[in-house]
Symmetry: C2
Subunit: 203 residues, 2 copies
């Protein structure tokens, strides 16, 4: 049984919820009250020394970092989610880095600024967020999925903070190829929503 | 034949040089004069729309992003560099994200601030760099390599900017387990140095 250390409004946790649902895994959610600093309690340091969510405990194997958890679960249950060739697997990691760094330092903090009042250089992260959406729109104008001819964990890693970009006051509707990609992800079997994401669509 | 779009002082390019050398691959370096904006020339946009180095052209397959290139080359030539199990491969990706995000937004910009006078919030990146070195030191106190019982691309992805941390005026010598790990990497067969990194050591 997998335990997900989780918060319902965390996009990083939702990446893991998406893959677990698409893989049809059995799991339980352990609420970590991050806005009230529960991730700094001593017990959580034993789970993740970096004091971040998500983390998972998979029958005793602890994994941290949303991109790393996606990789671990895909390897264990269905490696097709990682791409099929060296070329595809390299591109998957390129977009995992993009999710951790480019998205994680633009769309994600913009959302936290407006939702939780986090201290953020909002002009800088907004400008960077526009560039990030532009890069994604250019890519998705050429092909339906980010890293391969079909969905991979790269799409799941990038989806939540992109699809919730309006919560950070980014003009998501000006990026039509990104919008169409969000709809494609929402039509995948096993897709689950969260507040700020579209509902599941018929495939 | 692999062409590496390269700059001799780039730590991100050196990650790729390290793995290519350790894999005993044949490659040529194509100099991109980044400090003089050559990566913004039209021809380079065809190689990497993100306008970053490194990129590689491997007989027509273009790959960008240092972490993604390491993944691609390891898959193609020696997957043992990616770890052996789902657990190890997940941990490798965790440290690739750490290299792209935590190191890439602390030790790397601190170095660029002092070397090239880049505009950087030096107090913030220095504070973050100290935390990054602390996380690495704690990890490396427990085990000799970051993600598995032997070296993986996680170690190569993290090495350059950590080992050059003094160029960003970070007190590297206060982190003994990091220092010992740098020496272990420098003793690996095929290790190559660059300005700011230690010379190859006898194994």
């Amino acid at each position: 049984m997998i335990t997900l250390y989780d918060h319902p409004l965390s996009g990083n946790c939702h990446k893991v919820r998406l893959l677990m649902s698409m893989l049809d895994l059995t799991w339980q959610s352990e609420f970590v009250d991050v806005p009230n600093e529960a991730h700094h309690a001593p017990w959580y340091g034993e789970i993740n020394p970096l004091r971040e969510i998500p983390a998972i405990d998979d029958d005793g194997h602890i994994a941290c970092d949303s991109q790393a958890i996606l990789t671990y679960l895909a390897w264990k249950h269905d490696p097709a989610w990682l791409g099929d060739s060296a070329e595809e697997r390299g591109r998957v990691v390129q977009w995992l880095s993009f999710a951790a760094n480019e998205i994680g330092n633009s769309l994600q903090p913009a959302r936290l600024y407006y939702l939780l009042g986090e201290k953020v250089d909002i002009a800088a992260v907004t400008a960077k967020g526009l560039r990030v959406l532009g890069v994604l729109d250019t890519r998705l104008a050429q092909q339906p999925w980010l890293a391969a001819a079909r969905p991979t964990i790269a799409d799941l890693a990038c989806l939540p903070y992109v699809a919730m970009a309006r919560e950070g006051k980014l003009p998501l509707d000006e990026f039509p190829h990104v919008m169409a990609w969000i709809d494609r992800v929402a039509a995948l079997p096993g897709y689950v929503s969260m507040p700020g994401l579209p509902a599941a669509k018929a495939a």
